[in-house]
């Protein structure tokens, strides 16, 4: 019998989470995959409540499970928000499909702080590990990816290039890239300390982002962390920028080769240039969106859009010269957003029109 006080709190949390997921299931904006996921979450929570005293796990483990469900519902709630920047999510989804195939759901939340997240949450893995003797639980086999970005940037796609970096962390964590690297170094007799490991994770995420967004990620780094020295968690910004510059200029970078050897062994895509530079000048200078031709151009919009914005903000030529400064940034970000949205629309319309 569990200690009465702890049991009451955990069980009450489960009831509250059950109510939350039932309410979420009534939201009209979910697609069928989300509804399936919610239904499985509900079943699992109901099972846990019904078998609470009989399951062979500790209260701490139970608390971990509850926290996991809490995290899962937090971002599901965000996805009912009717302000999600679908255009940003669309571009990231293309990257995820390249690395993971199509077996995932994306939920998005808008934060009231300058922060970005990109997490994978699959309670099913945890439940299965913790409750191996509970065959009645149907495994939740859908990978749920949770993206979070600042609410202030929901219509500023050029500011959200950091999500590519966060996606790099997710890919590393999901496939164990750095873990594999550490193991290889260990087998070679080299033990890495916590600082080195953290730095490697950041460099992988930087290079991952650069492979899709070019020097847009470098510009972002310099905006937020210029001059930052090395710390326990991050390399010096100057070091990070050098890696990005060397990678983008095609120089031989040993670390990139090391990562790519691991990626190749795991039969994953490599770190290489995955964007092209769309010629947006004529369209944008005429205040018109650009017709994005393919995914490479889609990712390239980050770099080219940012470069175009930088030039336009100098306000030396029309139509930008006579505009208020904040309007320049708004219009260019809007044109990027609309360019992406038009690509999405044509794709969806085309697919729906050909489906019988």
């Amino acid at each position: 019998m569990r200690l009465w006080g702890i049991a009451l709190l955990i069980k009450d949390d489960l009831y509250l989470l059950l109510d939350e997921t039932r309410e979420l299931a009534k939201a009209p904006f979910y697609n069928s995959d989300f509804k399936k996921y919610l239904s499985k979450l509900n079943e699992t929570i109901e099972y846990l409540i019904g078998h609470y005293d009989k399951l062979p796990i500790t209260a701490n483990d139970f608390r971990s499970v509850v926290n996991l469900f809490w995290t899962a519902t937090k971002y599901l709630k965000g996805s009912t928000s009717n302000q999600i920047p679908h255009e940003t999510v669309y571009a990231l989804r293309r990257v995820l499909e390249e690395w993971m195939g199509g077996s995932f759901l994306i939920t998005t939340a808008l934060l009231d702080e300058p922060n970005y997240h990109f997490l994978g949450v699959n309670p099913g893995h945890i439940i299965k590990d913790l409750i191996s003797r509970a065959p009645a639980i149907k495994e939740i086999d859908i990978e749920v990816i949770q993206i979070a970005l600042p609410r202030l940037y929901r219509h500023r796609p050029l500011n959200n290039v950091a999500l590519y970096h966060e996606l790099g962390h997710f890919v590393d964590s999901y496939f164990g890239i750095i873990k594999y690297y550490i193991l290889q170094r260990k087998l070679a007799g080299q033990n890495l300390d916590e600082r080195e490991i953290n730095h490697l994770k950041e460099l992988f995420a930087d290079l991952f982002a650069a492979s899709y967004t070019g020097d847009a990620i470098k510009c972002f780094l310099l905006s937020f962390a210029e001059g930052n020295p090395a710390s326990l968690t991050h390399p010096a910004t100057s070091n990070r920028v050098k890696y990005i510059d060397d990678f983008l200029s095609g120089k031989n970078v040993k670390l990139v080769d090391d990562f790519n050897r691991i990626l190749d062994l795991r039969k994953l895509p490599l770190l290489e240039i995955k964007y092209t530079e769309p010629d947006i000048e004529e369209a944008f200078n005429d205040i018109k969106p650009y017709a994005i031709a393919n995914n490479k151009e889609l990712h390239g919009m980050n770099m080219i859009g940012r470069a175009f914005l930088k030039k336009a903000m100098q306000q030396t030529a029309e139509p930008w010269k006579s505009m208020p400064e904040n309007k320049v940034s708004q219009i260019i970000n809007d044109l990027v957003e609309k360019s992406v949205r038009n690509k999405m629309l044509k794709e969806k319309w085309g697919n729906a029109s050909t489906t019988s």
Binding site: N82, D286, I287, A291, D334, K338, A352
Partner: protein
């Protein structure tokens, strides 16, 4: 002033000339009728809501409540539905981004399938305009109407005014290059300031 017909509209849309008509995305060529261009319901909305304040103030008085507080922002995906309630005013835009030549102006009205349900749209777009067409939706009927995002809700007539306007190079344009509904800027009109000084010199 001359109403543009189908061949002229199609030719202009298909032209690579910078000064031609720009409609993107044109999901179906059939949107171009004999003398009209059908436009689709966009995915961003600003819904008018009731607040504690009894009125929207435009007189420019100190402490005046912002117009934005009377509207709630919401988005849908194409194919989703949006319910327009009786007597509700909602701001949205066309799905299509339009670029009008400097000598073409556009009148936008409800397609008859929707006006028969009590939906009213009445808008005009200046020569040289750039942006998604602003649409002010109003439901005059007694019943709520469930609209589908992406459906052809309005139609535009295009007129060649046979003289280039300076709209696109004018600093006075307020709603230029917008891709989502923009709230009224009536309270920022210079005239409002002039009028307010009449009684308060």
């Amino acid at each position: 002033m001359r109403l543009l017909h189908r061949e002229e509209i199609l030719e202009s849309i298909g032209s690579e000339d910078k000064s031609s008509l720009f409609v993107e995305p044109l999901l179906e060529p059939s949107q171009v009728g004999e003398v009209t261009l059908d436009l689709r319901l966009g995915y961003d909305f600003r819904v008018s809501i009731l607040t504690r304040s009894p009125k929207v103030e435009l007189a420019g008085k100190e402490g005046q409540r912002s117009i934005s507080s009377f509207f709630q922002e919401t988005r849908r995906e194409v194919g989703d539905t949006f319910v327009l309630y009786p007597s509700q005013a909602v701001l949205t835009t066309s799905l299509e981004y339009i670029g009008l030549p400097d000598h073409v102006y556009m009148d936008v009205v409800t397609r008859s399938s929707y006006s028969r349900l009590g939906i009213q749209i009445n808008s005009m777009v200046q020569p040289g305009f750039r942006g998604c067409v602003p649409i002010e939706l109003f439901n005059h009927g007694n019943n709520a109407v469930e609209l589908v995002v992406g459906s052809r809700i309005c139609q535009a007539k295009l007129f060649d005014v046979e003289q280039s306007s300076g709209y696109s190079s004018s600093n006075a344009r307020k709603y230029y290059g917008n891709v989502r509904p923009t709230l009224s800027k009536a309270d920022n009109d210079e005239e409002i300031r002039i009028l307010s000084r009449i009684n308060n010199p």
